[in-house]
Amino acid sequence: MTTLSQRPTAHLSDPRQEEQQSQAPAHAHHPDVRLFGLATFLVADGMTFAGFFAAYLTYRAVNPLPVNGEYELELLLPAVNTLVLLASSLTFHRGSKALMASRMAACRGWLLLTAALGVAFMAGQMWEYFHLPFGLTDNLFASTFYALTGFHGLHVTLGAMMIFIVWWQAGREGYFTAENHFGFAAAELYWHFVDGVWVVLFALLYLL
């Protein structure tokens, strides 16, 4: 087709040659980039936390709290909670290893343990909320504390629900395989992200 519309173009390669080049499996034309997309989205999600952290640090630097406005936070429970969350990342990783080895029963066990650790974290968080000496609107530190931990708690809740779903899906024959397990990998990536955010949050709120 020599047409007005398509000028002779040396830079257009031969389609037949192209076909030879692309003898790769058919899915090469539709690469699965969902995990990459999720990672990009988690960068965005992380920036929301970064904004909160920046606001919190600025408040600490320039907004002195009123007299008796400083609270001594109980450190033991949050520290245990941090360990619980870190352990849950480890158990999810073990679950992933089990999936790669196609040991589905072990995989489901690890998933259930991960979800249980997530729920335990939330329970610890709840217990702390009910025993804190301050409420949401008491002062700037109190508000920031609840906003940060609450926003993170939402993420943990969502992640725990994801893990339960993945656990349920993993029970179906052949739903996840060692090669094909996007939902599993996505939940794992998300869970590690939520854990990582908590470590920073713990350091800023409790240790700093």
Partner: protein, 566 residues
Amino acid sequence: MTTSALPASPHHREPNPMEPHHMDVQHHTPWYEYFGFSLDHKVIGIQYLVTGFFFYLVGGALAGMIRVELVTPLSDFMTRDTYNQVLTLHGTIMIFLWIVPVVNGAFGNYLVPFYVGARDMAFPRLNAVAFWMLPPAGFLLLSSYFIGGAAQAGWTAYPPLSITTPAVGQIIWIVSVLLLGGSSIFGAVNFIATVLKLRRPGLGLFQLPMFCWAMLGTSVLVVLATPVLAGALILLSMDIVAGTGFFNPALGGNAVVYQHLFWFYSHPAVYIMVLPAFGLVSEILPIHARKPLFGYRSMIYSILGIVFLGLIVWAHHMFTSGTPPWMRLFFTIATAIIAVPTGIKFFNWLATLWQGKLALNSALLFCCGFIFNFVFGGITGVALAQVPFDVHVHDTYFVVAHFHYIVFGGTVFVIFAAIYHWFPKASGRLLNEHLGRFHCLLSFLGFNICFFPQHWLGLNGMPRRVAEYDPQFQLINQISSVGALLLAISTLPFLINVVWSLWKGAPAGDNPWRACTAEWLTSSPPPVENWLHEAPLVTEPYDYGSAEDAMPVTTVQGRELWSAGR
């Protein structure tokens, strides 16, 4: 290879540009697709464009109300409260529902898959979801006017003003902007994955058309900056609803922290609005000047430079917010440095035009209008970055004029250039050039008459966002309003042109501009999966001006086709 080596098939017959229904041979997207949850990137692009244009008309009507109010020094056309609502809605609609969705969502979605040699975006379903967040957010925002009044705190929503004005409108505003921000982030995730991961095998990053780089840079900004605005708005809504005091000095909070978080997004937002426009200009100029894009690599590096610098200049909006001297110094210098990559792009465009065989059609004329307006807005921008000057004109009409030179004189002119350029591809029909040039002339005159005098107003101390002003400013305000009227009228030839050309326009043929990029190497409008054959591998998207290019420029032919079509 030559194109004659392609296998003969019914779809590769010689297309006859005079044949009106030539495009109907291909898969034709049925009309109702455009009203549904379509996954086709081209349909979604047009959905973004049409929705955005609807809100452009709404925002333009609001701007008209502002200019009518300012004809006289007293607030006699509407109450001050209404005026506040109108200016807030105008700014919010124009930024979040017209410019950002159209330069990113409309042109990005339509063009990026073609340019990377893909049949769709990386996540078509996410793409459709991102679009369908737009109409509800828009109508939510408009509805707030009828539910106890729209937000009154301007598009910046600075506390404590936004905490003390009526809460319902402000909360609806926040929800609406959060939705639009989410839509924007989903779009950006899609663009990053498409450009980085969906390129046709054999197509390198440094062989991509400039628009892909612009979209990549823009999307990085969206991903890094928009969530910070979302965080700020969540805290602001807690201040309004739950009684916290994050930004309320009366409760021990800090209003300047909101400004930092807001501008951390909203300065990059200027680049989110203008970088895609840079990309579009870089596509349109070479085709109509019949020359390769000048300085391809330097264009890419300047985009990357703008992305990086764009993230570290936000506090130049806050020189009157008690910023400490070191902060003023840093942000002044960083802002001034942005003029370097921007200047590189500007001179590259001029060099692309230099000694080109210019086809002075509507698309190129609008691009030239862009270059003129944008340089002017850029120069006042560098001036505003200087603390002594900024302290003098902060929150005056000088800032209003500068901003409109960037986003209207800059980006909106490019949007129109892009519509004139890609309308033949998307519809299969040419737009009328006479009406197009008339539209361009009217827009250029109307725009400059409207906004140039506002520099004078600002320098002489007229504050922005006021319904009443000192009588000494009346004449200049009236001149500005006449310009606004011209601008409003300029939309008419465009609308007539689009409607008429869709109905009776001359058939465009596959490639009326004889362009090299991949969207022109398929039918007009393109088939559902973009190409009926293998996606073409375009490694030199700006290969103009070679020996076989020495044909008369097709615009002339387009005009002949137009008269012949009638």
